[in-house]
């Protein structure tokens, strides 16, 4: 059976993965009830036929959206880009007078909103290639640069390739959470995890730099999967971009503001902070709240299209809310739909969501969704809970640690108890 052209091309669009993954075209095998580690397999209740039918149904939904993609969608993204740029222009102009506090408040609010729109609903989605079909070189995944420290191409490699392919596969998905945090009992505990609530907070505050550093792929370099020269070149590109952006927000604009220099600097810092906290929170809610499944590496052995779809559905969680919430999250509030169809235009997720939900419920799969505060609290709960070793293993972990810390402390032979 051949993969539908649209799917292969959407997967092929992703640049070659570090440690690649290819979908299998054979029929899915019957899911094992548990993984080798003993962890229950979330697909266990599905038969191979059902998995295949899920794949076919989702392909159909996808095709319907592709077939009806058109002027309305193009107008949507163009209008949004116009609105965002105008908002930015107006806010930055107002900030020229930010020594007057009302101007500061208005300008900072506007700039924060503009940065959020630019990153989430525009940048993230354009860089996914959601708008490439318009063939507009100015709104294209290969030419777009966004207001984030991470250069587009590096982010695309790390995010589109690594994260979207290996979603929630422990040890493979290095996205937020699984990389620097311990958020699943199957992850090994390290003493560093004790401070992970603090690490996570810092990551939220400096999110754009956290993302940029993450996208460099330092662990891959250490594992020998990345070439040193390209790594250093990427590092230079990133530092240059981050430097230019910092110069813009903290030197150039304040300088232009003259007597309002310091308030402008503070306004820009605030807008970056607001954007960082918001983006972090939204992304944090995508894969970590309770009810979202994680997978073991075996899950992607010879994975078929249907299995890939099911893993994406189970490995993501939505945020409920009104149209404004969806817009400001860049429609990542439809994380499930986004992970199923990462290159469909984001303005269409809302209309496919009820169908995806109905399909999941029909097949006994849990459609995880909840209001932002609830999902964020649940994800933060995990950060706190798993900062400690698993219950019941705490003593053993301590012993293991003690042995690691005190390996050379020899107990004199004479003091040893007889066996």
């Amino acid at each position: 059976m051949a993969l539908p052209n649209t799917l292969t091309s959407s997967l092929a669009r992703l640049r070659p993965a570090r440690g690649g993954h290819r979908l299998s075209t054979t029929r899915p095998k019957a899911p094992a009830p548990t993984y080798a580690s003993g962890k229950p397999n979330p697909l266990a209740h599905l038969s191979p036929d059902q998995i295949e039918r899920i794949g076919a149904e989702l392909d159909e939904i996808r095709q319907e959206v592709l077939d009806s993609r058109g002027e309305r969608d193009a107008n949507y993204i163009r209008r949004l880009i116009r609105v965002q740029r105008s908002l930015e222009l107006v806010s930055r102009t107002v900030l020229l007078f930010s020594k007057y506090w009302p101007a500061w408040v208005v300008g900072t609010t506007g700039l924060s909103l503009s940065k959020i729109l630019e990153n989430m609903e525009i940048g993230h989605n354009v860089l996914h290639g959601q708008w490439d079909w318009m063939r507009d070189p100015k709104v294209h995944s290969t030419s777009w640069q966004w207001d984030m420290a991470s250069p587009s191409a590096q982010w695309q490699q790390a995010h589109n390739v690594q994260h979207h392919t290996f979603t929630n596969v422990l040890g493979k998905d290095e996205d937020l959470g699984f990389n620097i945090l311990r958020v699943d009992p199957a992850q090994k505990w390290e003493p560093g995890n004790l401070v992970q609530p603090l690490t996570n907070l810092l990551n939220a505050v400096f999110f754009q730099y956290g993302v940029a550093i993450h996208d460099l792929g330092t662990p891959a370099l250490k594992r020998g999967e990345r070439d040193r020269a390209t790594y250093l070149a990427d590092l230079r590109t990133m530092l240059k971009k981050a430097g230019r952006h910092a110069f813009r927000d903290y030197v150039a604009h304040p300088a232009v503001s003259g007597p309002s220099a310091v308030p402008t600097l503070l306004a820009n810092a605030t807008a970056n902070l607001v954007r960082n906290l918001w983006a972090h929170t939204v992304i944090f809610c995508g894969h970590l709240p309770s009810g979202v499944e994680t997978f073991e590496v075996e899950a992607i052995d010879d994975e078929t299209r249907g299995e890939w779809y099911v893993r994406q559905m189970l490995g993501s969680g939505n945020i409920s809310g009104g149209p404004m919430m969806h817009l400001m999250t860049g429609n990542l509030s439809y994380q499930i739909e986004h992970h199923l169809f990462p290159d469909l235009p984001s303005n269409r997720y809302a209309e496919v969501a009820p169908r995806v939900q109905a399909l999941m419920e029909r097949y006994g799969l849990r459609y995880v969704s909840g209001p932002l505060y609830k999902q964020a609290a649940s994800a933060w709960g995990k950060v706190f809970r798993y900062s400690l070793p698993n219950r019941g293993q705490r003593r053993a972990t301590l012993r293991r640690l003690a042995r690691r810390v005190l390996p050379r402390v020899r107990v004199p032979e004479s003091r040893m108890l007889p066996a």
Binding site: S9, A12, L14, E71, H140, R244, V256
Partner: protein, 364 residues
């Protein structure tokens, strides 16, 4: 160029100030450019990518329409007979097509007009005919083309046209007063002939001799019979534009008469050879793989798969679409010839007239 020379001779201080202002503007707008913000209000300003705004859409006949476009300030003008490429968003997708300019060049205003005839199932031509409204922004390229008049004008000219092939000739007739011009034009019926009234006025003014041929009654005039309506055709410099059979026929007839150098031809469309099977096309830089049909130009296949493909005339004449074929084989759709790249030797191909012949890799 005079323009650059003049710039370079400006006082250095002024230049330094201007350059620093520019880099400051770039810095405060990074990662975008100042132009991205100016585009919000001034899409037609100097220095912007060339665009145009539709100012009027006027039906010419039941299946042809004239579009008047206000070009951006970067427009460098045109010579009568030249065409320009227009990027139109049809159902949200930007499609580029070439259209001959039918308006005469003017010194000061930036208005040009094109006349488009709808082709059955033609995506862009039908969109222009039925959907395009005044106010729409179009993407443009500068005027190009060699289907133009020499300076001074020839003493005797013949225009041999059919259907929408009249458009570049109309541009010339409106721009020049030829000492002796004959137009032999074929159209399906008098009603469907574009510019008919205006041409008759030119005849009345003594500027033109017109031979009309209505093909619904009489069939297309074979090029071989041009002598029956224009006895001195051999002495004339001839410009021909129309459907491929007419042009092929004319080229053969003029060559047989030993005066191929007096015939100037403009083609709107190439006839493609279709044979064999397609194959997988791999656009290596974008890392996109897609299936290319035997009859499908790689340009179309690539665009459909979301690759940003360079392009121009889309019919094998401008070389705007050239890209290296780094591996595999493609078929030249004009001749059916196979072109193969080896691993150590890439070949440059025109993607608009090449189709996959088995798997192939293109460096785009």
């Amino acid at each position: 160029m005079a323009f650059t020379a003049q710039r370079d001779s400006r006082p250095t201080l002024q230049r330094t100030i201007r350059d620093s202002a520019r880099s400051l503007a770039r810095l405060i707008t990074t990662p975008l450019s100042p132009g991205d913000y100016l585009d919000l209000f001034l899409p037609l300003r100097a220095g912007a990518p060339l665009r145009g705004r539709v100012v009027a859409v006027r039906p010419e006949t039941e299946d042809a329409t004239t579009v008047t476009i206000l070009t951006g300030r970067g427009w460098r003008g045109h010579l009568p007979g030249q065409y320009l490429r227009i990027g139109v968003d049809v159902d949200g997708v930007r499609l580029w097509r070439s259209y001959s300019i039918t308006s005469p060049p003017t010194r000061h205003d930036r208005l040009i007009s094109i006349t488009v005839r709808a082709i059955p199932d033609g995506v862009v031509s039908n969109h222009i005919l039925r959907q395009l409204t005044p106010g729409t922004l179009l993407m443009l390229d500068q005027a190009v083309g060699f289907f133009t008049q020499p300076d001074p004008l020839p003493a005797k000219v013949l225009f041999l046209t059919a259907g929408s092939g009249l458009t570049p000739v109309m541009g010339m007739l409106r721009s020049y007063r030829f000492p002796d011009a004959v137009l032999v034009h074929s159209a399906p019926t008098p009603e469907r002939m574009m510019f008919r009234e205006e041409l008759h006025r030119m005849v009345a003014d003594g500027r033109l001799t017109l031979v009309e041929r209505f093909t619904d009654d009489a069939g297309v005039l074979p090029a071989g019979e041009v002598g029956t309506v224009v006895p001195d055709w051999r002495k004339r410099q001839t410009w021909a534009c129309g459907p491929a059979p007419l042009l092929n026929d004319a080229e053969q007839h003029w060559a047989e008469a030993g005066i191929a150098d007096r015939l100037h031809v403009e083609r709107f469309h190439v006839q493609l050879v279709v044979e064999g099977a397609g194959g997988e096309a791999h656009f290596t830089r974008s890392d996109v793989r897609t299936h290319g049909e035997a009859a499908e130009p790689l340009l179309d296949a690539g665009e459909d798969a979301g690759v940003l493909m360079p392009s121009g005339c889309r019919m094998g004449i401008c070389f705007g679409c050239v890209a290296p074929l780094t591996d595999g084989s493609v078929r030249d759709l004009r001749t059916g010839d196979i072109v193969t790249a080896t691993s150590d030797e890439a070949v440059l191909i025109q993607t608009c007239v090449s189709a996959a012949a088995g798997s192939c890799s293109i460096d785009l």
